[in-house]
Symmetry: D2
Subunit: 267 residues, 4 copies
């Protein structure tokens, strides 16, 4: 059901891979709410995913972009503004990948070159995107930028490995750049710290299923789904939340505020 | 402009005094977005305020309620459900008053009986309202409860005095009751930590004007107004935020995340 | 083993009941480290506890004091300074009791008069003690005040009930009074957030044993004992920590920073 | 004055440059308290600093080590254990340098290759040091690792630039590795978040002097000095704090807990 919350707004959505992706759901909901969007993902992700189907369904285009490459990000913004016919109002950053996790390296035996690559992909890319947008003045005043994060930035989930550091970095970029973009353009920058979600990426983490169930039982409302995360992104892109910036916002059914829950213990 | 975000929803709004009140703005925006509401305030506030004008404008009723009295809260819910024709979907708690501040007692010379009265009015009332609603099963599943708070719960603003403790208490009630109400009814409970706002209540605090300006310059987006706070309350009452609970949400133009800002220093 | 860390320092220790009490261990360690102390507890606790044995062992006195009564607190400070021959350097507040928990009232069915009594005993007493000391100028410059708290102030542990709010209140008093006492006398005020501890008081909470084991397995270092908490109190009373104030300090083997731990899940 | 708090303990101190360095003060205090230590710094820092004078004064050696190079860290631990005659009990990480700040790049115009180098020097080096120690099993059970950090990891201080992200990363490494090292060896890992300090490194930041004064006036106890930070490090290396791990500990005269302070406003 549409409330036309994003009528007239234009956005760029990073990170939709397939229909389990949070970014996929966000793209659908944004269009449903009246926005015009452009989809983007890394060239390698484009080959393996189904993003072109999404583009077709939403009547838009896919612009390939490796978010660790400044020139490709510039091209993305240039082509997006051409396609959308003007500056952008919102951006979703939903990018994350850990090479050390993929290679099954223990946290006490990490390869630090891979770590730096992980940070570049998962976090520095966020600064890159904002820096390019800022320099090109590509975002309208009162625009909204959101990145997806996870609570491992605050507390330790051992299997999450170096992605904990990636998310800590990501959230820090939101605060730091949020200051600069806020002062110049009233653009707000926030991160949404989402429940564990059954995505193609998330499921790859070791022991994901039992962890998912644990979080679900610990959370008074249960785990938040990709669809409800998309609803929340819509709220954060809309004019209802214009004065919220530099925040990390938990969207997790209450998990982050729980110390213990008998239900989770007995499972 | 309405997006019909609250179509079919019913709510109770505590704390509208006059047209500077945040609760006043919330009531107007909720009705604009399609909700049916009931207004309430303490009998003494009803005498001095303009709440009846608001009720007339919004075509609703005012039910007097001293939120430190369990029987009056029960009556409020009973009459509200009668008037609204069913259970409630959202509640705004916007109640706060410090007797020691009003009596100009220094923080190192407080009267502790007054302090307990302050806590009862400003914070325990929130537990009372939720306990009554919970026992009467007066809130629909997936309902939303919001209380207004201030960052003095986290950091020290000396002139705020014992209201710091009141807000710490209020936010703790949100977490604790949020657990219980979430588990039984999926009802979410959150607090919104708002910028200093020029209300009849807020302005009473010593040195308010210079503090207001300081916060305005420290915040990258400036201070959030009552109107934008009302927008945010609408988002929190809507179905876009169903999985957020037990959180304290800063709505402050970025103030809470600032360490220093040259603009604020030079003012 | 003594390092003479508290040589020449004088202190008041609230809350030693029996040899399982954290305050008991703190008193012993402080004396071992060269401090002179005075013990105090509520008259009712004196009847049931073994505090006189501790006083004998440590060659000091017990001064009865109901910490909800300003006159008794004044008497305590007057008599303590007489006994110790001068102003006080440190104070330990280890007082907490919930009437609603004792009466087994559910969190959604609390008696609010009992709640206010709980707050008075467990938290407002802390403000009272500091206010009396501040007015009497009874604490030397660079003195140190510590209160014991629990992480339920930040996250929800349902069985902890209204003690969550008591601890939120207590920690807020530390921040607020820490400001005033710091500015005037460089006195620092902090709270130590301790692991669940097998004390006569702690054990009374429902399901304490299984919770204790859960916390022990969740914490990378295991639960912190009363003895190690006493060591930490010594550090906080010593001159090694003169610039730490208004903080809530977790002393919990790492529990507070854990999101999940396979060891805790499998137990 | 010595309390022999570190008698029999062996430590490695990174980062002493000259007598304004916090690490310099830590080295002196640790030796005063009975520890045996080894000093280390990057080869380039050795050339410009006065660390050899410190080594002479403390009757110890300097082992050059580029903390971004795994082999050099291995050599450091091997030679340290040889010199000290056994495993290490404590480590201080006091390393930080931002290339973009040094090159005066604006935060909205950063060079991302420099940023990665900054992260490697200032934060990843901490993971490297712990990984090497962990693999070599070079730290005794119940050992203590401390890294120095700054509150820019939590809140925005615009001039601090990418060092905000470096410190967020550093603190995340403390939590993550603290878990693993705690579980295997009861080794604790913490960060100390220190007031702005007049060091050769700290003073390089733009507008440092006025910021130093602002922080000094905002803090109820004033800014913490390098000497008092060293006292606190001694406490954290001693057996008085064995159960504290994965924490970020503010050592700042109360700055972090202040919302506003009339003294700072009027300056």
């Amino acid at each position: 059901m549409s409330n036309n919350l994003l009528n007239g707004k234009k956005g760029i959505i990073f990170g939709a891979l397939d229909d389990k992706s949070i970014a996929w759901a966000v793209a659908e909901k944004c269009v449903e709410q009246g926005a015009e969007i452009v989809l983007t993902n890394a060239p390698v992700a484009l080959r393996f995913g189904a993003i072109n189907q999404l583009a077709e369904k939403l009547n838009t285009i896919v612009i390939p972009c490796d978010a660790t490459d400044m020139e490709q990000i510039e091209t993305l913004f240039t082509q997006s503004m051409e396609h959308l016919g003007g500056k952008v109002d919102f951006v979703l950053h939903a990018i994350g990948m850990s090479i050390n996790v993929r290679k099954k390296r223990s946290y006490t035996d990490l390869n630090h070159e891979w770590m730096k690559k992980t940070f570049d992909i998962s976090a520095i890319s966020f600064h890159r995107v904002m820096q390019v947008a800022y320099k090109m003045d590509a975002i309208n005043d009162w625009g909204s930028i959101v990145a997806l994060t996870y609570m491992a930035a605050q507390r330790t989930f051992p299997d999450y490995s170096e992605m904990a550091e990636s998310k800590a970095l990501l959230e820090s970029f939101a605060r730091s750049f949020g200051y600069h973009y806020g002062v110049r353009n009233k653009v707000r920058v926030n991160t949404i710290s989402q429940s564990p979600t059954v995505t193609t990426a998330g499921s790859g983490v070791k022991g994901f299923d039992s962890f998912f169930d644990y979080a679900d039982q610990m959370s008074p409302l249960g785990n938040a789904s990709a669809a409800s995360c998309a609803d929340y992104c819509v709220a954060m892109f809309s004019d209802l939340t214009k004065m919220i910036t530099m925040q990390n916002l938990f969207h997790d059914g209450g998990f982050s505020m729980m110390g213990i829950n008998a239900a989770a213990l007995q499972s």
